[in-house]
């Protein structure tokens, strides 16, 4: 084993110094979602289960479209932050890295698919 002092081993293993930013982003998205979630539940709930024609007409109106687009986008950004902390708490090393990358890619993909679909419905 290479000669390493205890100090050398410990250096760089402390805080990532990005925790405040992470927490602040979760706070912002959570405040936005407090408003968005009830609006989305009751607009989406009104459309769910209807015929395709009814849904297309319902989601051609600006209000449900804006609520759905914002909720999908902000919820996926909030999930991105939350799932990262979940993974960091229970995994380590390469598994941690790849799971975080995968989970973040899933949240981006869902945000993109959801936004595209909602806008496509509206137009």
């Amino acid at each position: 084993m290479a000669y390493m002092t205890d100090r050398k081993r410990a250096e760089g293993l402390g805080s990532a110094k990005s925790g405040t930013r992470h927490h602040w982003q979760m706070m912002i998205s959570s405040v936005a979602l407090i408003v968005l979630v009830p609006l989305f539940v009751f607009t989406f709930g009104a459309a769910l289960g209807g015929t395709w024609e009814q849904t297309v007409i319902y989601y051609s109106r600006p209000f449900p479209v804006i609520v759905a687009a914002l909720t999908i986008l902000v919820a996926m950004l909030h999930f991105r932050g939350g799932v990262q902390v979940l993974i960091e708490d229970y995994t380590r090393g390469a598994a941690r890295r790849w799971t975080i990358i995968g989970a973040i890619c899933v949240s981006y993909a869902l945000a993109a698919a959801g936004l595209f679909a909602v806008i496509g419905l509206a137009l």
Binding site: G50, T55, A75, D89, L110, L121
Partner: protein, 127 residues
């Protein structure tokens, strides 16, 4: 000294050694509900993509979500969504520096569970 336990340090969940308490259980529930909601998110985005695709795709997605299995997932997700939202409000209250003592923290957690259940019933009736 520094070589002791290298690379085998404990990770976060020391769940097994703690007595269950309202504070810890409601905290764990916040994490479980938040992350489990990805299932409802997948189903919801699928529904929107299907609706944008056309009537046949929509019939499949809408049929699945309104089937008994889809209904079960959605009603559990609605409870998870309300609970996670209320638990988030609890965190914002704590972040602002209020209700930090154990008894109030426990009351907030119990309140979140009760209110989430009430809101789920209201949602089931309205939707």
């Amino acid at each position: 000294m520094a070589d002791v336990n290298r690379g085998n340090r404990p990770l976060s969940p020391h769940i097994t050694i703690y007595r269950p308490q309202w504070t810890s259980m409601t905290s764990i529930l916040t994490r479980i509900t938040g992350n489990a909601l990805i299932v409802a998110a997948l189903m919801t985005v699928w529904w929107f993509v299907a609706a944008a695709t056309g009537p046949e795709a929509y019939a499949v997605a809408n049929g699945f979500i309104t089937s008994w299995f889809g209904d079960l997932v959605m009603i559990l997700s609605v409870w998870a969504l309300w609970y996670h939202s209320l638990a988030g409000i609890r965190h914002l209250i704590w972040d602002a520096g209020y209700m930090l003592d154990v008894e109030k923290g426990e009351r907030l957690g119990q309140g979140a569970i009760v209110l989430a259940t009430v809101l789920t019933i209201v949602t089931a009736i309205v939707v």
